[in-house]
Symmetry: C2
Subunit: 402 residues, 2 copies
């Protein structure tokens, strides 16, 4: 696998555009991603009972199994917008399809931003035609146009060799950012020129998400708009990838790597985040137990606040593992903290070790800190990623109206 | 039911004491609650896999079904303290039993405070003998001695008439407060002079907790020491209360009222809390659905931060209901906010209403605010209580070492 400096237009046959359509004051707020040819599609969407209109549309057209394009707007989530919202999402697909000369059910729609306000369809329609006429090889504008309170764009791209052909996988994402007056949304769009079967792509996405996007936590809230959409147009010319076929594992590894990179970029850019936290659980009885423990730790407000204070607070970590519903014996747990500044063990077989607080502080004051818990009960492991709980988080999410 | 101005020594035959044993710098840090006669006991303890030594001891002696006393220390949680911790908890029970002339398995033990540090048993032993010799009718010192970072003591007492006898139920609690260097603990001790069967008392406690202590959230973390212990000595002389017997429902209502009052006191005194939040869900398909939704809302960092900002953020509330795993139709939900300053509806059948932001702000700036969601799908309802997420929460839990 080769990591390349590219974006969603790096895979063969993909074009993209990003523009300012006027939904936001001045920032880019609409994007379009298009494949020259009908591409195999896969998707994963929010589990929230409250689903935004574009999510309802996308879940329907996902059944078709192939698509040409994704049209996205930021600034307005088109959520809690009733029948009008559903009609507007469909119109976005239809107008995009009109410009591209494909059918509406070949166009995924995504929105992020304010809740409960209907889209300004005049601006959206104008935006769609401008986007369609400005499609190009530059994915950068699209990567920036999907952002809300994110502070940096999130792009990843890799290539792998599969039966002599160079296959490229790329993605862009936007993170968990609150936007006035409502909620966070995670969007991720993946493009690849691999030839891969629909079933293989969808199941690979399911596995990949459970190890990546489902293992990050900024504040534990699941939005109405969360969407991951994948388009694979086969233009790399490799022989069709199926579960277990030659090169499939190589492809899946690269695909999951891109998802993981984007997921970690989202946490690094979490609202008000000052510190990136990785929790690794090893020696667990099962993968499920390991994942439950790791995710519980990075989701704990107490743990997050402790990392904000650069506090080697093993008690809160052990406690969060304890209420995770995972099966483990706390009297077997070893726990250590590490960072670029070194490593320090604080717990051995469930018992606290005397350690140098100053040394621990020095390690935990780094921007990227790691905690590792070894349960000594098996060989399963999992990693979860989070960020600290800071004054800025409270300010951004509570104080912005005051 | 009559609300009285009393404490755990208000029921007949109960004495208590609270002293400074030296575990904390200057505040009271040990308490004892004693019944003249062996009392029927009931208890509920943390579900955390990581259980403190006193919790392990209490769960064992709970099987006996009766007890004389509860001995408590604050300042040290006796958690993650290994074999020595278990031995120390047992010693606390044995020494208390020695002073009272009962058997060790008649003495519940509770601890709250620092984790991973063994108890100073010299101070504890001295404290126990002082406590035993200073038992009296004043529950106030005991109520204060169990506190950690709580800012106020938490006491409630009521009387009810059961077959001509006056039955008294009283309780004290300590809340969710972080204590250097570790975690929160909720402790609650209930005394009553009612004659009630062990089975009836235990099942009543289970039902009561699910509607009260299980419906509050300060930061969602479940501690290693959480304990609720009930002693009922029968000295009121009423005929034995059994499930369904005369007066049982009157007694259960009063008992649950005391639990509810103490639970709400804990949230009002939550760390850094500036605002008390009640979330009521009505018209749900089932009690379980209603409880899931209500608890999910008061546990959401986004919702809590919005209340900190006095922001009528119905989107975050609907979103938190949406990921609660409850079964409901968001397109039927009505939502309104209220306080001493009045009421304002913000959502009707899942659609946002245009409302006066200034008016909403005025309502939400109150110290006690209420949100009510009507699901219009049934007749089940539930209430949950929480507090806002404030700068002080982050400071207390993150910044205290910096």
């Amino acid at each position: 696998m080769k990591i390349i400096n590219g974006g969603i237009t790096s895979p063969k046959g993909f074009k993209a555009a990003g523009i300012h359509a006027g939904l936001k004051k001045s920032k880019l707020d609409m994007a379009m991603i298009v494949s020259e040819t009908e591409a195999v599609s896969a998707g994963a969407f929010t589990t929230n009972v409250v689903k935004a209109a574009p999510v309802i549309w996308d879940r329907k057209i996902l059944e078709k199994g192939s698509a040409r394009a994704i049209v996205v707007n930021s600034g307005n989530a088109n959520a809690c917008t009733g029948e009008q919202g559903l009609a507007d999402a469909r119109t976005m697909a239809e107008e995009t399809a009109g410009c591209l000369g494909c059918s509406a059910d070949s166009v995924f729609v995504a929105s992020t931003g304010v809740i409960g306000v209907n889209l300004d369809m005049e601006k959206i329609s104008r935006g769609i035609s401008v986007l369609a006429s400005s499609l190009g090889a530059d994915g950068d504008a699209a990567a920036r146009a999907i952002l809300t309170t994110d502070t940096v764009k999130k792009e990843a791209a890799v290539t792998v060799e599969i039966d002599g052909r160079t296959v490229t996988i790329a993605g862009i994402a936007k993170g968990s950012g609150m936007i006035h007056p409502n909620m966070a949304t995670m969007l991720c769009f993946i493009t690849t020129d691999a030839a891969v079967s629909r079933q293989a792509l969808q199941s690979m996405l399911g596995r990949g998400i459970s190890d990546t996007f489902n293992m990050i936590s900024v504040d534990g809230d699941t939005s109405t708009n969360d969407s991951v959409i994948v388009l694979a147009n086969g233009m790399a010319g490799n022989s069709l990838l199926e579960e277990g076929s030659d090169g499939f594992s190589v492809f899946e590894e690269a695909f999951t790597y891109v998802l993981g990179q984007l997921a970690r970029m989202i946490v690094r850019d979490g609202e008000g985040a000052g510190r990136f936290i990785q929790m690794k659980v090893t020696g667990a009885k099962s993968k499920t137990d390991a994942a439950l423990m790791a995710r519980s730790v990075v989701s704990s407000s107490l743990v997050k606040a402790a990392f904000f204070g650069a506090d080697a607070n093993w008690g809160r970590i052990l406690c969060a593992m304890g209420y995770s519903k995972a099966d483990f014996d706390p009297l077997l747990v070893d726990l250590s903290f590490s960072s670029a500044k070194g490593e320090i063990q604080v717990l051995s077989a469930g018992r606290p070790l005397a350690f140098d607080e100053g040394r621990a502080k020095e390690i935990l004051l780094e921007k990227e800190v790691f905690a590792t818990a070894d349960c000594h009960q098996g060989s399963a492991e999992a990693e979860a990623w989070g960020c600290d709980l800071t004054y800025d988080y409270v300010r951004i999410n509570g104080d912005y109206r005051s």
